[in-house]
Symmetry: C2
Subunit: 342 residues, 2 copies
DNA sequence: CTGAAAGCGCTTACAG
DNA sequence: CTGAAAGCGCTTACAG
């Protein structure tokens, strides 16, 4: 018993309005060729019968589903904790909604298989195209999509196999500005809290490059002993900072590659009886909502996350509709925000 | 130009395998009646052509879409920040995945309209049923679903208009245990940090009831001046606690109705130069992942969030398949966890 | 401006 | 065990 609810179809509406069902279809699709009175009659009938067009049935002849997928090659509860991603989703959802599309979520769903999130979507042609969150685990999946010529856009940096496009912030320049600020304040030993050493995301490489570039401009060289690793969570930032503080010659400033780790850094610094920014300055990255509320308010590099989501979605629609993407890469500005932690 | 990619259909497979396309359909659907050799030939052909069944086409004759919706009547970036919800989603996703269903996300999508998330789903029959996150803003939407006889299950407490079911933890008992623990430790003035005063969620009412019940068992009466309000975020817990500490006769213990506010409470207590739990004990609710990592580790009431998501999803499938739900309400156990904050 | 026909990719009884 | 027919709810040319 799949359904007991009786469906109202286009034919019921046609009968009610006294027209052919093709005419009903034209009204639904806003074809200009329908006489106003006819349209009105049909609209009334639709209203009266509470008719809802069936998306799947509309899609069949049109060869599309009106659904876009969002692939997150992790367990939902892991990555979802990332406020930056959540802001992106908010942008995606608003944009999809505006275009009459629905958003499907595809995670690894407890399968333990990185590719599962991708294969699931491919397996049954359920989406017209997909947005992929770039992670260390998404490269194989993107390659798979490219091989199948499946329309997709990467949120992050990605192998630009056509048809596809990558949307990300200018990580390098953002990191460069942050480091420049620290340098201007007189800091010479700057600790870096990077993402995980293995399977790093391209964005982290870029931030590191920007940092080194700024050092170089100031005539300094990058000291690898000042770089430690976290896993993007707050506790990991705390632990990483403890390592930094235990150094024979500890840094006077710390640049964490995301805000959550920066917050952890501040905790660790305080726990060690020192103050931010007086004893040690701290800078984060992302400008998540909690950054401004933190104590002290976090100096950070803002990524336009929501906008990145919306932009990626718009580009995906272009690709789906057969228009070539505007570029293989869209770089959004990153903005350095000075608050009180540095 | 919707698509340039040529689709491989059931007919292509049939031709390749030298059988009728109905036979291919039977193989896909695991009908027992296909001769093993025939099945093998078809399977090979499927493999060779890289055939993917079209979900929408399968669904049309079956009157279903193989999609379930998750309605979150807020902007995506607001509610998603709730770790408890994220754990639920993780459970939903795993369960849907196991049953071959896809998960559609429906938020208010920047429309500013609470009902939009519901109407979107109804508008085009895109999902076979929906899961609704109970919030102060979801009641009207649930009524709408019930009126349309749309299969849905509420994550939380909800008006149990059939066909539907509500899945939640035993909030009352959990809160009772927490308060009992505080009482046992000798606390007599217990501050409460509740959710927002207007548009409260039923779960908060239940927690309050459990708290009052415990007080009553101890022969105490509830003092309304000890109850303040937050909005579930950490900073709000901090502010609420400042109010409590400013009282002429401040509480010696604080019970916050979620973990994030409890964390804010601990910050505020420390900022006031006092210690947790020595000067003031603090208890939270939910047991989000960060609770155990907090300093001090948070004493709290655990909700089986992931399991609640999975259970609700299973029940939704029952309803979709025409089986009546096992109950109109499923209550999962809440477990009181003693750590160090109280 | 509006009907009648054909078809989207599949499933479901019905025969054989 | 496997074909042939009809149909799911819609759209898209094609006539008129």
């Amino acid at each position: 018993m799949a359904t007991t609810r009786k469906r109202v179809t286009i034919k019921d509406v046609a009968a009610e309005a006294g027209v052919s069902y093709q005419t009903v279809s034209r009204v639904i699709n806003h074809h200009a060729s329908v006489r106003p009175e006819t349209r009105a009659r049909v609209l009334e009938a639709i209203e009266r019968l509470n008719f809802r067009p069936n998306l799947a049935a509309r899609g069949l002849p049109q060869q599309r589903t009106f659904i876009i997928g969002l692939v997150i090659p992790y367990e939902a509860d892991y990555l979802f904790r990332d406020p930056h991603l959540l802001a992106q989703i908010s942008g995606i959802d608003a944009e999809a909604n505006a275009r009459g599309y629905n958003l499907l979520l595809s995670t690894e769903g407890g399968s333990g298989d990185d590719l599962e999130a991708f294969e699931r979507l491919l397996r049954n042609q359920v989406a017209d195209g997909v947005l992929v969150v770039e992670t260390a685990r998404s490269h194989a999946g993107c390659a798979l999509l490219a091989r199948e010529q499946y329309p997709f856009v990467s949120l992050g940096y990605a192998p630009g196999a056509p048809p596809s496009c990558a949307v990300h912030a200018n990580d390098r320049e953002g990191a460069r500005q942050a480091t420049l600020h620290l340098l201007k304040k007189g800091h010479r030993r700057i600790g870096i809290i990077n993402g995980p050493p293995t399977g790093a995301v391209q964005a982290m490489e870029e931030r590191l490059t920007g940092h080194r570039q700024a050092l170089q401009e100031a005539g300094l060289t990058f000291d690898p002993t000042l770089m430690v690793y976290g896993d993007y969570t707050r506790p990991s930032g705390q632990r990483a900072t403890e390592q930094l503080l235990a150094l024979p010659d500890p840094p006077t400033a710390i640049f964490a590659f995301n805000d959550r780790m920066a917050m952890g850094a501040i905790w660790a610094i305080r726990a060690a009886g020192r103050r931010v920014p007086d004893d040690i300055a701290v800078i984060g990255f992302d400008d998540i909502p909690a950054a401004a509320d933190f104590s002290p308010p976090l100096t950070t590099v803002r990524q336009p996350s929501k906008e990145a989501g919306a932009t990626a979605t718009r580009i995906l629609f272009d690709i789906i509709e057969g228009n070539p993407p505007p570029a293989t890469e869209v770089v959004l500005p990153a903005e350095f925000i000075i608050r009180e932690s540095a």
